[in-house]
C-alpha cells in the first residue's frame, strides 16, 4: 500500500470568489491551478499537486489584493472629491 500524502488545498472557493468579485484574469488562472491540483493528486503526482496548490493560492490572493487596491484607490479619489465639494460649499 502506497503512503498517500494528504490532498493539498485546491483553493477553489478563493478562486471562484476572486473571479466573481474581482473580475480579473488572475481569478481564472487561479481556477485553472485549482483544477490541476485535483487532477495531479488523483494521478499520483503529489509534488506537482503541491506546487499547483501554492500557485492557486498565490493567484487567488494576487487577484483579491489587486481588486482591493483598485477599490481603495477609487474610494480615496472619491473621498478627496467629496471633501473638496464640502470645502467649496457644494453640499
Amino acid at each position: 500500500m502506497e503512503n498517500k500524502p494528504t490532498r493539498p488545498n485546491s483553493y477553489l472557493a478563493l478562486a471562484i470568489i476572486s473571479t466573481i468579485l474581482c473580475c480579473l484574469p488572475a481569478g481564472i488562472v487561479s481556477i485553472i491551478y485549482s483544477t490541476k491540483v485535483n487532477s495531479l493528486y488523483e494521478d499520483g503526482n503529489y509534488a506537482e499537486a503541491e506546487r499547483a496548490s501554492k500557485n492557486a493560492k498565490t493567484w487567488g490572493i494576487v487577484s483579491v489584493a489587486l481588486a482591493l487596491l483598485i477599490y481603495i484607490v477609487i474610494f480615496a479619489i472619491y473621498g478627496i472629491a467629496i471633501f473638496a465639494a464640502i470645502a467649496n460649499g457644494d453640499f
Binding site: 490532498r7 485546491s10 477553489l12 472557493a13 471562484i16 470568489i17 473571479t19 466573481i20 468579485l21 474581482c22 473580475c23 480579473l24 484574469p25 481569478g27 481564472i28 481556477i31 485553472i32 485549482s34 483544477t35 491540483v37 485535483n38 487532477s39 493528486y41 488523483e42 482591493l68 483598485i70 477599490y71 477609487i74 472619491y78
Partner: protein, 138 residues
C-alpha cells in the same frame, strides 16, 4: 507567538473590511445614476465585453436586500459560489462539531474541471447578443 498575533490582527482587519463592505452594498445601489460610488468593471471599461464577474456588485446589493431572484439574474455564477461555500461550510461543521468526514465532491478533479468549464462557457455565452443568452448578461 508573534505570528499568531499577526494572524489575529489580519482577521480583525478582514472582518472590519467585510462588515463595512456589506453595509455599503446594503445601503447604496450600484446601478443608481446619482451616487456613482462603485467602480465599473475594468475589463468591461477597456474591452466593452462582459467578464464572468460583471453584475456582481448589483447582485450583492439585491441579495442583501432580499431580492434573491433579481440578484441572481445579474450574475448566475452566484448560484455556483453559494453551492461551493455552503458545501465547504457544511464539511467544516461536520468535521469540527461532529468529528465526521464528509466525502468532498469539491475536491475531485471532475468537479473543479466542471467549474472551469462552467465559468468559461458562461463568460462566452453572456457576451452573445442573441435572445436566450441576453438573459445571462448582467
Amino acid at each position: 507567538m508573534a505570528t499568531s498575533r499577526l494572524r489575529l490582527f489580519l482577521y480583525i482587519i478582514i472582518a472590519i473590511l467585510l462588515i463595512s463592505a456589506v453595509s455599503l452594498y446594503f445601503f447604496v445601489n450600484p446601478s443608481s445614476e446619482e451616487i456613482q460610488l462603485f467602480p465599473k468593471c475594468p475589463f468591461y471599461s477597456f474591452t466593452g465585453l462582459y467578464c464572468p464577474g460583471c453584475g456582481s456588485q448589483r447582485a450583492i446589493h439585491d441579495i442583501l436586500n432580499g431580492h434573491f431572484i433579481e440578484g441572481l439574474r445579474h450574475n448566475y455564477l452566484f448560484i455556483l459560489l453559494g453551492f461551493v461555500l455552503g458545501y465547504e461550510a457544511l464539511t467544516f461543521i461536520r468535521l469540527t462539531l461532529f468529528k465526521k468526514e464528509t466525502y468532498n465532491v469539491i475536491h475531485t478533479s471532475k468537479f473543479t474541471i466542471m467549474v472551469l468549464v462552467i465559468v468559461l462557457v458562461f463568460w462566452l455565452l453572456r457576451n452573445l447578443p442573441l435572445y436566450p443568452f441576453t438573459e445571462l448578461a448582467p
